[in-house]
Symmetry: C2
Subunit: 125 residues, 2 copies
């Protein structure tokens, strides 16, 4: 694949007991990671606070931490779009976008089998 930036692909998946399932689980099982990717998938590139608002419930520290982690894994891309009023834009890399199938499958399963019981009076119909 053609890399979009100066970043070379880090082999962050290395391990003795390598298992694609475990590796993927550790990647998207960080509570916020899949949601962040999903929001980016749905709303396109976003700034830090816009993303924070979309995710809803995450703290700055955790979002910052997650973003850094996702960037290291070349799943998202960080671009400075303005220096004066310092503005940043987070977007998905092709690799990040490729997670759509997994995320959607997770969402679908969650909606089907986890049953939001939160408001089952009207929306479940």
């Amino acid at each position: 694949m053609a890399d979009t930036t100066d970043d070379q692909i880090p082999i962050w998946c290395a391990g003795e007991d390598w298992c694609p399932i475990t590796a993927t689980a550790l990647l998207i099982g960080k509570k916020w990671h899949p949601v962040i990717i999903h929001r980016l998938l749905d709303n396109g590139p976003l700034g830090f606070n816009a993303l924070k608002a979309e995710v809803d419930g995450i703290s700055s520290k955790v979002l910052s931490d997650s973003l850094e982690d996702l960037e290291q894994k070349t799943l998202i891309d960080r671009e400075i779009i303005s220096e004066k009023p310092f503005r940043v834009q987070y977007s998905l890399t092709p690799r990040g976008e490729s997670l759509e199938a997994v995320i959607l499958e997770m969402r679908d399963w969650g909606q089907t089998y986890l049953v939001p019981a939160d408001d089952q009076d009207s929306s479940v119909a």
Copy 2:
């Protein structure tokens, strides 16, 4: 798929900031959970140590802990198949089996995008 008999759904998914993606991520993002489910999917019902061998790398404590968690979430079923030589059998519930699509999607993505040095002859050691 018509399960429809499972009306006693435990609401272990309840939460204020409910999100099917997050909920599913927390469920299968426990490092070993998806692997356990996958092994059960592939090899059918297994005993404790057989499962431990299949997962490979997990400790008794963690497996026991994971199993208990998965059982609580009605994803796996524990059945005592022998009292004298104490034997137990772990199997997937319909709900657990329904995770196959997600697990497979994760595995597929991991194999495609995480690139196990296995395929490329890069012994990362």
